[in-house]
Symmetry: C2
Amino acid sequence: MVTIKDVARMAKVSPSTVSRVISDSKSISEPTKERVRAAMKELGYHPNVIARSLIRRSSQALGVVLSRSAESAFSNPFFAEILRGISKVTQRCQYSLVLATAENYKEEARQCLQMVMERRVDGVIILASRVNDQLIENLSETEHPFVVVGRVDGDQHHYAVNNDNIQAAYSAVRHLLNLGHKKVAFLNGPVEYTFCQDRYQGYVMAFREFGLTVDERYICHAENLHADGYKYSQQLLQLKPQPTAIFVADDLMVIGAYRAIKEAKLVIPDDIAVVGFNDDAFTNLLDPPLTTIRIPIYEMGKAAAETIIAVLNGDQVIPPQRILSSELLIRDSCGAKRLVRV
Amino acid sequence: MVTIKDVARMAKVSPSTVSRVISDSKSISEPTKERVRAAMKELGYHPNVIARSLIRRSSQALGVVLSRSAESAFSNPFFAEILRGISKVTQRCQYSLVLATAENYKEEARQCLQMVMERRVDGVIILASRVNDQLIENLSETEHPFVVVGRVDGDQHHYAVNNDNIQAAYSAVRHLLNLGHKKVAFLNGPVEYTFCQDRYQGYVMAFREFGLTVDERYICHAENLHADGYKYSQQLLQLKPQPTAIFVADDLMVIGAYRAIKEAKLVIPDDIAVVGFNDDAFTNLLDPPLTTIRIPIYEMGKAAAETIIAVLNGDQVIPPQRILSSELLIRDSCGAKRLVRV
DNA sequence: ATGAAAGCGCTAACAA
DNA sequence: TTGTTAGCGCTTTCAT
């Protein structure tokens, strides 16, 4: 391996001079710089980031925790989109991106904690947070820099980037109630996620506003966003009186919902209306095209990465929590057709 | 920061003893081990991987190059799926995963090369290879370990994992020719990718077998798999005589193709048949559900990661090239309905 | 079974 | 402007 010493020897300078040339220090004369650079080129020298990280006490790397089993995370367009936003920023800021993945959340949390404690990464981005999130608690205790995409349960002292889940769910449900629906079922995601709690809250808000009481039988919590849409939709359709609309908290579950509805010989939107969440690319291809909430996922990824990098630079991040707003995209699954800003 | 020295002091041993306890050396007595472990726990000690990497000359990290602009890569389900396979293996083998992303291939290649030359990663997985691939050439010259997902143009001395593109395209086109189609258009991807070349070859093979001559007007190469499906399908539909079938080299382009076909007031499969490639999750939701090629993407990701890790361990990898087989999934876009193994 | 010492490749005082 | 020196936190001979 070519080291700084080899370059120094060849250019007939000391190793520290070579180091200064690498960082383009202005206290080195042009002729020397050129001689050193020539030597670097001739020898095919490349700085060893590991050695540099050791002495600088910084790896210039960011960790990303998917916060779900890798299985379900990778199949959700949300993660692709948020990773795209994150990577956009990391490449601009010269950080590298380390992915933490595992079969389950506990293992993933362990991996993430290890990553940061072992100094493999300088900070961590957590995608989605849970009620009583152990990882977030540990990260706070050990004082490692992190930023959460989502709302942190309880305490407000964390850096976080989120979308307006309450507001978004509220406007989705209000849209249905405005269309005259009374029996609006809610196919929500796993209760342990704060975003599901928030969407539930938005649902309740809309009901309150319309002077309607929430019937808990019409609300269910899927465990797996990919697999459970079908099963729970079937259950909801069994209810008497049958719901005339379903608000689905993740577009991934809409696929199963559509199937269950069609198998029950119901027609969307005539017999039953559907609203989704996320505006995944495929929702426009469904029959009928889905009315859904668009959230600025890419922008959230960018904001999260910018935040953690600012924190690492010791910059003030004000405010520590940012909430990006979403919009209701009205297509054909409820019977209307226009665009409304939330 | 808690270091090995702090632990040593507390446990009243030397730093080297602590190091031996970390690696669970059998030359340390049980009582000492326990004393040291207690000290580690009390101090909240965690080994610094950076320091370890420096002395071991190994970062225990793998780099992944998307081989496209991050933009188009992340939106393609192929990458999510292959990353899932890769991460499955890296987590099992205690490697971390570093993503290289950029706006364009040149920049991405630079980043990848840098990653490995700077010793940030021990080896690299390249997703998709090009004709005359500069990155692969550089990696070979500098003798850095890498494995390619796809077929490497020219030389056969690289480690690679691929699917049977020629065979797969051949069977897709043969399926159409068997159904009586003569004017089978081919909406292929960018010519610079070897997988597109292979799929073209399979197309030609099928034509040969049926004693038909290939009309180059019926073949086009999209530059962007996401955006160009619509445009090129429109062009193909303009041809006289109009094609009665289109073989589309990536499911992502099928979305645009369906739209162009429907806008031309043609009915799938009655007026025109369509075959896709990849079996992306949404293809089953299209109207009509798409007949497409299923390739074992997840398995390819696993195989690629296993290969590079074996190489890094100095194990023999035989054979250096592996080809996984695909199958034609017959749904409704050609008018038939059954499953055929290629 | 344990310790002392050297050194991985780099940076950054402190000198000169 | 440049060189000397002392580490960063760890592992690994070589002693004892």
